[in-house]
């Protein structure tokens, strides 16, 4: 077995994940690109388990299992954040998230407005 083939697959998948995270506007698609990157790391770990002779056998595969668990936790919290963002703003575009917090409460005053905008959007579609 030639380990360069899965290694190159993993490198290309990681590059695709980086491209997706930077390119996509929809937060759910950003999370999918993050999944691509995590899977590239898993493939690297499993392949390294066959090429690197470690003291403990199968440590690469054990680490791959740990990374899968971390990815599950990440996707749970990430989707909670995305759904909360959608509930507040009726949009999940990551480049429309304000990075500075508004000082006075226009968020409460203008709060019905995003829902109305969402309704309009829905009607427009």
């Amino acid at each position: 077995m030639r380990p360069v083939i899965p290694y190159v697959t993993a490198a290309l998948l990681f590059g695709l994940g980086v491209y997706g995270v930077l390119r996509r506007r929809n937060a759910v698609l950003v999370l999918m690109a993050v999944e691509l990157m995590l899977n590239a790391i898993n493939l690297i770990l499993v392949t390294a388990d066959t090429t690197v002779r470690a003291v403990l056998p199968h440590s690469g595969q054990v680490f791959a299992l740990f990374v899968i668990v971390l990815a599950a936790a990440e996707i749970g919290v990430g989707l909670a954040i995305v759904l909360q963002l959608y509930r507040l703003r009726a949009s999940v575009a990551v480049d429309e998230v304000p990075l500075t917090e508004p000082t006075d409460p226009p968020s409460a005053a203008g709060a019905p407005e995003p829902a109305a905008a969402g309704g309009n959007q829905e009607a427009g579609r």
């Binding site: 030639r2 190159v8 590059g15 997706g20 898993n42 909670a80 999940v92």
Partner: protein, 188 residues
């Protein structure tokens, strides 16, 4: 080139091809379905590489749970059925950085491993992996269980609008709470 090499090549091509479709498609739901293909091909890669338990855990957790959660999120954010044009940002920097990362890692790994061969080790069955996890890696395993619990609690706290809200003017807070309740009821 042996049979394992050919299998790895084919599965890698499927994984990279569907990965390209995940980050370029204009349909939100199709992106999730291409992600299923990509993760399935990677599970096949793990099987060829002798990681049986990791392959089945990948199918169970990624294809079974994570993708379903992502599709739930796509539906809950009222994604349009059909192609949508506003999914992408103008992407020269993204192409530059992503292509640079991917091709740089490719050059690094090809230079490190050339065309060398290794023997496929004995399969990582559940018995062998369990022995390793519960003998050598038991402390990280327990820490991971605590992390999963805290992620669960964190997701619940994030999803409940009445926890952690800042005390404001009572009328204001009441209006905001009503609004959130109405909105969440509408989104279900």
């Amino acid at each position: 080139m042996t049979g394992a090499d050919l299998l790895l090549l084919a599965l890698g091509a499927v994984a990279v091809g569907s990965g390209v479709l995940v980050v370029t498609t204009k349909h939100l739901v199709r992106a999730g379905l291409y992600l299923v293909v990509c993760l399935g091909a990677l599970a096949g890669d793990y099987l060829v590489l002798g990681a049986e338990l990791v392959a089945w855990v990948q199918v169970l957790i990624y294809v079974g749970a994570v993708v379903v959660l992502l599709l739930f999120a796509v539906m809950l954010t009222r994604a349009p059925i059909g192609a949508s044009d506003d999914l992408d940002r103008p992407g020269w920097p993204a192409a530059l950085i992503g292509g640079g990362a991917g091709l740089g890692l490719t050059v690094l790994l090809v230079d490190a491993y050339r065309w060398s061969t290794v023997a496929v080790p004995d399969a990582g069955t559940a018995e062998r992996l369990g022995e390793q996890i519960f003998r050598s890696w038991v402390l990280p395993f327990e820490v991971l269980s605590v992390l999963l619990l805290s992620a669960l609690v964190g997701a619940v706290v994030l999803s409940r609008p009445d926890i952690g809200r800042r005390p404001g003017p009572p009328a204001d807070g009441g209006a905001a709470r009503d609004r959130v309740d109405v909105d969440s009821g509408g989104s279900r």
